[in-house]
C-alpha cells in the first residue's frame, strides 16, 4: 500500500476538501486547451494516479471506463487516418490523452466525492441555492428511482409479464414499458408529494443560505491546490502564447 505522511494515499485523496477536488477537476479539464505534450502527459498521469488511488477501478464505474476505452480506441484510429502529419501516431496519442485525462479525472472525482460534499463545495463557490438544492433532491431521488423500478419490474414479472421469446417479446415491449412507467411515475409523484410536505412542515425556504464548510489548509489540500492552479496557468499560457 502506498502511503503519504503515514496515511494510505487512498485516504489522503478522499480527505481532500471537496472544493479542492472540484478545482482539480477543472484543472484537468483545461488540458483541452493545450497542445503541449509534456503538460498533457503530466495531467493524464496525475489523473490516472487519482483514478487508481480513489479505487475507482474497483467500483461499478469501471464499466463506464470500458465504454470510454472503446471510444478512445475509435478516436485513436480516427485521429491516425485524419492526420496529415508525419508523426500521426503521436498526434493520435495526444488527442486520446486529452480525452483520457478528462474522463478518468471525472470518474475519480465522482467516486471520491459524496453528493453532499459536492453540494457544500458548490455552496462555497456561491452557486445559487435553488440550483444546489435541486441537485441535492436529484441525488436523493436517483437511488429511489432505481429501487422502485427494480421492485416494479419484479412485481410485473411475477404476474407473467415477460411471456414469450424473440419476436413475441418485442411485440409485448410497449406493454412492458407501460407496466413499468405508470407505477414508477405514480411512485415518484407520491414520493415528491411526501417530500414536499416534509419540506414545508419544517419551514423550508428555498432562498435561505445553508451552512458553509470551513476550509482547512492541510498539506494535501495545499499541494493539490498549487498543482491545480499551476496546471491551469500553464494551460492558459500555452493556449494564449502559441
Amino acid at each position: 500500500m502506498i502511503t503519504l505522511i503515514g496515511k494510505p494515499l487512498h485516504d489522503v485523496v478522499y480527505e481532500l476538501d471537496p472544493r479542492v477536488k472540484l478545482i482539480w477537476l477543472i484543472s484537468c479539464s483545461s488540458v483541452y486547451f493545450t497542445d503541449d505534450k509534456l503538460l498533457i502527459s503530466v495531467i493524464t498521469l496525475v489523473a490516472a494516479a487519482m483514478f487508481i488511488f480513489s479505487g475507482a477501478h474497483k467500483t461499478i464505474y469501471m464499466k463506464a471506463f470500458y465504454y470510454i476505452f472503446i471510444f478512445l480506441i475509435a478516436l485513436f484510429l480516427l485521429a491516425m487516418t485524419e492526420s496529415t502529419e508525419k508523426m500521426n501516431v503521436i498526434y493520435a496519442l495526444t488527442i486520446i490523452s486529452k480525452w483520457l485525462a478528462i474522463s478518468i479525472s471525472s470518474i475519480a472525482f465522482f467516486v471520491m466525492t459524496k453528493p453532499f460534499e459536492l453540494m457544500t463545495a458548490l455552496r462555497s463557490f456561491r452557486v445559487p441555492e435553488e440550483f444546489v438544492f435541486s441537485l441535492g433532491i436529484g441525488f436523493r431521488f436517483i437511488p429511489i428511482i432505481f429501487e422502485a423500478a427494480d421492485k416494479i419490474l419484479m412485481a410485473q414479472k411475477a404476474r407473467g409479464l415477460y411471456s414469450g421469446k424473440g419476436f413475441r417479446k418485442i411485440l409485448r415491449l410497449p406493454m412492458v414499458i407501460k407496466a413499468l412507467i405508470i407505477p414508477l411515475i405514480i411512485e415518484m409523484l407520491n414520493r415528491l408529494w411526501d417530500m414536499w410536505l416534509a419540506l414545508m412542515i419544517r419551514g423550508f425556504d428555498l432562498g435561505k443560505s445553508r451552512k458553509r464548510m470551513k476550509f482547512e489548509l492541510s498539506a494535501s489540500n495545499l499541494t493539490v491546490l498549487i498543482y491545480s492552479f499551476a496546471i491551469m496557468a500553464a494551460c492558459a499560457a500555452n493556449c494564449f502564447l502559441t
Binding site: F116, G136, P183, M195, R202, K208
Partner: protein, 486 residues
C-alpha cells in the same frame, strides 16, 4: 392545549367529507393515540392538527383547530410548526438532505436560528439519541431503526411543544417498535404526543388516552384500559372479535424445497442469505419471522425466481424455479408484494384483475369466471373504477385478488399486514385459513407475531440471513417472542 371544534373537511375532488364534525381536546403533556381503520380520516385529521390543512392542502374546511389558542386558519404555517413537530409513517420519505448532520440542522436553519444555537441543539439531540457515529452518513443508507431515530432527532431539535406521529414504527420489527416506544416514553416530560395509528395493540401500553375514529367521526374517547381488542374490532365495524386459528392439517410431502440458498446484493460485502435450507409442505402455512434486514423479503424473491441465487437452488415439485418461465410459474406460485403501488397500472379494477390472466393465455369466459370468484372477496361494487383512486388498504386487497385470480398452489406473502388495520387483517386471516383448508399452501413473512401464531403450522426464524430456528409454531414462537422481548 390543542382544541378541535366541530371540524369537517372535504378534499377538493371528493363529494363527501373525510372528517365530519369532529370534536376533541388534547391537554398539555398528554400522550394521545388516535386509532382508526384504513380510510377513517386519521391522516386528514393529523394534517388539520399541524396546519398542513388548510395551508398546504386546499379543500373545504369547517370548524376550527386551535394550537395554544391560535387558530390554524389565521396564522401562517411557519408560526404553527414552531410548536408542532411531525413524523410521517415512512422516515425515508421525509429525508431531504444527503447527510444526517444536515438533516438534523435543516429545520433549525429554516427557522433562522443563529449558527451557535444550531450547533448546540445538534450536539444535544446527537447525545440524546446516540447518533454521533451516524452524523456523516447518508440517511437513506441507515437501518430502519436508525432512520426512525434520525427522523425523531431532526424534529426534536426544533424543540416542539407537540409531537405528531403518523403510524409510528409500523415498518419496524417488534424489538424496534419497543425501542421506539421507549424513546417516546423518555421524551414524555414537557411534551404533548399524538400518535395516529390503526394498531391499537401497539399504543395501548404508552397512551394516556385513546380516541377511536371511524366513519369520519370520534367513536370513543377515554383511557386505553377501558377498551379490549374485541371492542376495537367492534368500533372498527368488524363484528366477530374471535381470533382465527388454523385447523387444517398439512400433508407430509414437500411442495417446495430450498437447498443451501445464499444471496448477496451487489452493493453489499455481506451475504444477505447464507446457506438457507428448508421445505414447504403441501397444504402448509409456513410463517417466516425475523428482525428488519434479516432477509425475509429476499428469501421470498428468491423462492419466486425474481432474484438469482448466489449459491443453492429452489425446487418446486422437483423443478428448479430458475428454469420455469414466469407465466408457468404464476400458475403454481403467486407472490404478494409489500407495496401494492408497484403493480397497479391498468385504468380499471377489472383490467387490473384480468392482466395476469391474459398473460396466462386464458379465454374471455374463463377470465370472467375467475374475476367473479375473487370479486366477492374484494367487495368492490364498481369494477370499472380506477384502481389508483382506491385507498391504500383497498389497493392491497386488489393486489391480493390479482394473485388469487391466478389460482396458484402456493402463495408467498411479504408483510401482508403492512399499512393494514385489524379489520382488514381479521378478514384476511379468515380468507387465508379458508383457502388453506381447500388445500392451498402459504409462506407468510411478517413482523406481526400474532398473525404468524394464528395462521402458521410451522415457523422459520431468520436471523442475519441464516435459519436460526425452524419447527412447529408452538415450539418456535416462545423463543421468537423471547428474542424480540430482549
Amino acid at each position: 392545549m390543542l382544541a378541535v371544534n366541530n371540524l369537517s373537511f372535504w378534499y377538493t375532488t371528493a363529494r363527501t367529507s373525510t372528517i365530519d364534525r369532529a370534536d376533541l381536546k388534547i391537554q398539555d403533556n398528554e400522550i394521545v393515540a388516535i386509532v382508526g381503520p384504513n380510510g377513517s380520516g386519521k391522516t386528514t385529521l393529523g394534517y388539520c392538527l399541524c396546519g398542513i390543512i388548510p395551508h398546504l392542502i386546499k379543500g373545504k374546511m369547517e370548524g376550527d383547530v386551535a394550537v395554544d389558542g391560535r387558530n390554524t386558519k389565521d396564522h401562517p404555517l411557519k408560526d404553527i410548526i414552531r410548536d408542532i413537530g411531525v413524523i410521517f409513517q415512512d422516515p425515508d420519505a421525509q429525508f431531504v438532505t444527503l447527510r444526517v448532520r444536515e438533516e438534523i440542522a435543516f429545520g433549525l436553519e429554516n427557522i433562522d436560528l443563529p449558527q451557535k444555537e444550531i450547533d448546540a441543539r445538534l450536539d444535544s439531540v446527537v447525545d440524546r439519541f446516540g447518533l454521533s457515529d451516524l452524523l456523516d452518513r447518508a440517511p437513506q443508507d441507515l437501518s430502519m431503526g436508525q432512520k426512525q431515530k434520525v427522523a425523531l432527532a431532526s424534529v426534536m431539535a426544533m424543540r416542539p411543544k407537540i409531537l405528531l406521529l403518523d403510524e409510528p414504527a409500523s415498518t419496524l420489527d417488534p424489538r424496534g417498535q419497543r425501542k421506539f416506544l421507549d424513546a417516546i416514553r423518555e421524551m414524555k416530560d414537557g411534551l404533548t404526543i399524538i400518535m395516529l395509528t390503526h394498531n391499537f395493540d401497539y399504543v395501548r401500553s404508552i397512551a394516556d388516552r385513546v380516541i377511536v375514529i371511524h366513519d369520519k367521526t370520534v367513536k370513543f374517547d377515554g383511557a386505553p384500559d377501558l377498551l379490549t381488542r374485541k371492542d376495537v374490532l367492534r368500533l372498527f365495524g368488524v363484528n366477530d372479535g374471535q381470533r382465527n386459528k388454523s385447523n387444517a392439517a398439512p400433508r407430509e410431502d414437500a411442495l417446495i424445497r430450498i437447498e443451501g440458498l445464499s444471496y448477496k446484493y451487489s452493493r453489499s460485502h455481506k451475504l444477505s442469505l447464507d446457506d438457507v435450507s428448508f421445505a414447504v409442505n403441501k397444504g402448509e402455512v409456513l410463517g417466516i419471522v425475523g428482525p428488519n434486514g434479516s432477509g425475509k423479503s429476499t428469501l421470498l424473491f428468491l423462492m419466486h425466481g425474481l432474484l438469482k441465487p448466489f449459491r443453492g437452488r429452489v425446487l418446486i415439485d422437483g423443478r428448479d424455479v430458475s428454469k420455469i418461465d414466469f407465466p408457468e410459474l404464476a400458475v403454481r406460485q403467486g407472490i404478494l408484494f409489500q407495496n401494492p403501488n408497484h403493480q397497479i397500472f391498468n385504468p380499471t379494477i377489472k383490467e387490473e384483475l384480468s392482466f395476469g390472466l391474459k398473460n396466462l393465455g386464458l379465454g374471455e369466459e374463463e377470465i370472467e369466471t375467475r374475476i367473479r370468484q375473487v370479486s366477492d372477496f374484494l367487495n368492490f361494487e364498481d369494477l370499472s373504477r380506477d384502481p389508483h383512486s382506491l385507498s391504500y388498504g383497498q389497493r392491497k386487497l386488489l393486489s391480493l385478488a390479482t394473485v388469487l385470480a391466478m389460482n396458484p398452489e402456493v402463495i408467498l406473502l411479504d408483510e401482508p399486514e403492512l399499512g393494514m388495520d385489524i379489520g382488514f387483517m381479521d378478514k384476511f386471516e379468515k380468507r387465508l385459513l379458508e383457502l388453506n383448508r381447500s388445500g392451498k399452501s402459504f409462506v407468510v413473512a411478517s413482523h406481526d407475531l400474532d398473525l404468524i401464531e394464528d395462521v402458521s403450522h410451522r415457523v422459520l426464524f431468520l436471523e442475519d440471513g441464516r435459519v436460526a430456528k425452524v419447527g412447529p409454531t408452538q415450539q418456535v414462537m416462545g423463543e421468537v417472542r423471547d428474542y424480540f422481548d430482549r
